[in-house]
């Protein structure tokens, strides 16, 4: 019945008039959530069904989203919305299961590693229990499989394996006819995420070649080099997928370029990297105004409102001293320091006051 308020246009219009909001069905959320948190309309609720350990610091969370969730294709990410101590945090994670799992069982998996100092990942590891409900956005991301079988090369590092797991399971279940190689870099063998699933895929799918490379088990650290690529049969003709820490990705892109592999055949996706809290003297950065399609760099302790105005934008503002919240704006990514409180924000999507927020590194605003 509630979905009528969302989809039927006249009813939606009426709902807006009656409840003064763009999402009229969510007017009833506070009461519906009391009955069952899975009835909420404001976001797609997803219930935690099961939590399994992958490594010492990585867990897989199996979620059952409400049936209206639109699904995904292998390699995509989702935004999740988790409430911690009254505040909602939005974080992006890769889906680590195949779309078949969603179609068959109505569940999806997120494989999440603890980020040192990370508020949300650590909270999820320490506090999230089966039965809890969190919010799930629609899947997005261009890290997707080609339509027709062709030889593939995956280079993954650490928890960068998660979107690749989703793709490998999909390929294995389709019995993909072209050769697929995965070079998986981990610190030690104990850090292999989803080891069981990977070895099981290797066993049942002959076209797949798995190479786990432990970087810190030998005398000297072992990093990706051209030898590794050389050993991959027909490497220059393969479509390449990279996911891992920035160092590995840069190195891999460089080596693949040297082999003459074109950019359009190299697919990269970043996984959420921990942005360590910088010293407060490390202020300024490139500010991207997403809606205005404008990007400017700032130095020192200039507030975002001043930066925006210097860039000839005219965001709403009022007191310019952090009181009236006229200038509140959504930050989609990046870290800012609040001039009044001295507090450093999280890296994710949240609302900030432009007049007292100073960028600390690159920041993207919905402005």
């Amino acid at each position: 019945m509630m979905s009528l308020l969302e989809k039927n246009r006249p009813l939606r219009w009426l709902g807006k008039q009656l409840f003064n909001r763009e999402d009229p069905a969510a007017f009833f959320d506070p009461l519906l959530a009391q009955v069952d948190p899975m009835l909420v309309r404001q976001y797609v609720p997803a219930k935690v069904i099961e939590i399994t350990d992958e490594t010492a610091d990585t867990r897989t969370f199996i979620l059952k989203p409400a049936a209206r969730w639109a699904g995904f294709s292998a390699g995509q990410h989702v935004n999740t919305c988790i409430e911690i101590d009254g505040t909602r945090y939005n974080r992006t994670f890769s889906l680590s299961c195949s779309p078949a799992q969603w179609k068959l069982h109505g569940t999806v998996s997120l494989t999440i590693k603890r980020l040192p100092g990370g508020k949300v990942t650590n909270w999820m590891h320490d506090n999230l229990q089966p039965g809890a409900v969190l919010g799930l956005g629609e899947a997005f991301g261009e890290f997707q499989l080609p339509a027709n079988p062709e030889p593939l090369l995956y280079i993954a590092g650490g928890s960068g394996i998660t979107p690749i797991l989703s793709q490998l399971e999909t390929l294995a279940s389709e019995d993909w006819r072209a050769p697929v190689t995965l070079l998986y870099f981990v610190r030690t063998q104990a850090d292999v995420i989803a080891a069981e699933r990977l070895y099981a895929i290797q066993k049942r799918w002959p076209a797949f070649n798995l190479q786990v490379l432990a970087t810190e088990e030998g005398e000297t650290p072992q990093y990706l080099n051209d030898q590794h690529l050389e050993q991959v049969p027909g490497v220059n003709a393969r479509r390449c997928y990279l996911c891992g820490p920035k160092g590995l990705m840069d190195l891999a892109t460089d080596l693949l370029h040297k082999r003459g592999i074109a950019d359009e055949r190299i697919h990269c996706t970043f996984f959420a990297a921990a942005t360590a809290a910088l010293a407060t003297d490390d202020l300024g950065g490139v500010v991207q105004f997403a809606r205005s399609d404008l990007s400017v760099s700032s130095e020192g302790d200039a507030a975002l409102l001043d930066i925006a105005e210097a860039a000839k934008l005219s965001p709403q503002y009022g007191c310019r001293m952090g009181i009236c919240h006229q200038c509140s704006c959504r930050k989609t990514s990046g870290t800012v320091v609040n001039r009044v409180t001295g507090k450093v924000s999280g890296p994710g999507e949240e609302s900030i006051q432009l007049c007292v927020s100073i960028p600390q590194g690159p920041v993207t605003l919905d402005l």
Partner: protein, 359 residues
């Protein structure tokens, strides 16, 4: 106004900032739970009131339905809408409780309100000529404004403003007095007028067209009940707001006195320009905790239910600097408001003569 030197003002700022920081550091689950409980109460009262209204041909049901809907509107406007739009719950990062997206159940659009109230009123509190909330341009409440014979009738203006408060607030940004003086043009107000009709139309449609028509055989009853609920909210909110700044001891300021003012001076102005009233927790909630107008003006973006808790600390700070902490019972504060409206309706000579007499 109590005179403090620069050093004292700086210290005052530090003392008040310390109270603020302590609350900010403690914000969390408890505040989220509080506002969500209030939102649930609002939904229950609104849905309950609307559901009962068609059965209003039974007199006690009519009263219950009207009171229920009236309370719903009061709670939504005062404790939820006003406070959410101040950004008190922005830290929760919940789009339903966010200052920039919240749209409240009254004629004034949230956008217009944030301009006239959050910015003008809270920045230039009680500065005559700058804070248009001071008398709402229909009443003379201090001798900073020159007396005019029309002011003799301002008690009628007051009653009309109270009865139609949501429409008055909705039209506030029109700046009719400046239009009359030709300081601004109608053309410049066209975007505002359009948005006024959109939001005002939406509100009128809901309460005076849609719900009555939905239950056509009893339409007059539903219409009367909805009007009653709106009236109830209008009278209560206007009264609460008037008690916040128009009481006898609430001070007014001149534009010169706050040019290039420091944060400390701004704090001092908020402390001396506002007034509280006492009451039960339920009354505080119904007032959106504007019964703690002083705390609200000093810390407009702290969750309002915290004002009650920090009030003793704010009082102690006032005592330290010899600043009058203006509080009293609701009835006594309201009486001084009525007296102020009456007094300043009179020519200065008459008023001064009256004031000279022992009360």
């Amino acid at each position: 106004m109590k005179k403090l030197n620069e050093a004292q003002l700086n210290e005052l700022q530090k003392d008040l900032d310390a109270i603020r920081d302590e609350v900010l550091a403690d914000l969390g689950e408890r505040d989220a739970k509080y506002i969500r409980r209030i939102v649930r109460l609002h939904r229950t009262l609104e849905i309950g009131g609307r559901a009962m209204m068609p059965f209003g041909f039974i007199p006690p049901v009519f009263v219950a339905a009207t009171v229920s809907l009236g309370l719903a509107k009061i709670i939504e406007n005062m404790e939820i809408g006003h406070n959410v739009m101040h950004g008190q719950y922005d830290w929760m990062n919940d789009p339903s409780l966010h200052s920039q997206t919240y749209e409240w159940d009254t004629v004034c659009s949230s956008e217009s309100w944030r301009r006239t109230h959050n910015y003008e009123h809270h920045t230039y509190t009680n500065v005559i000529g700058k804070d248009r909330d001071y008398g709402y341009a229909v009443m003379r409440l201090s001798d900073d404004v020159k007396w005019h014979p029309a002011h003799l009738l301002q008690f009628i203006n007051y009653l009309m403003l109270s009865v139609f408060f949501q429409w008055g607030v909705g039209l506030h940004e029109l700046e009719s007095e400046r239009l009359r003086r030709r300081e601004i043009t109608w053309k410049s107000k066209w975007p505002f007028i359009k948005s006024f009709f959109r939001k005002g139309g939406r509100q009128a449609f809901k309460d005076y067209v849609f719900f009555p028509l939905l239950t056509l055989p009893v339409a007059p009853i539903v219409l009367a009940g909805n009007a009653g609920a709106n009236l109830m909210r209008n009278l209560w909110s206007s009264t609460v707001i008037f008690c916040g700044h128009f009481t006898q001891d609430a001070e007014t300021f001149t534009e010169e006195s706050c040019e290039n003012e420091s944060k400390g001076h701004w704090y001092l102005r908020q402390l001396t320009g506002s007034s509280n009233f006492t009451g039960s927790n339920f009354v505080h909630m119904l007032s959106g905790h504007l019964s703690y107008q002083i705390e609200h003006h000093v810390f407009p973006d702290l969750p309002a239910h915290r004002y009650r808790e920090i009030s003793p600390k704010v009082q102690a700070v006032c005592e330290k600097y010899g600043i009058n902490y203006n509080t009293d019972s609701f009835a006594r504060q309201y009486w001084t408001v009525l007296k102020r409206i009456g007094k300043f309706s009179l020519p200065d000579s008459v008023r001064l003569k009256l004031e000279a007499q022992p009360a």
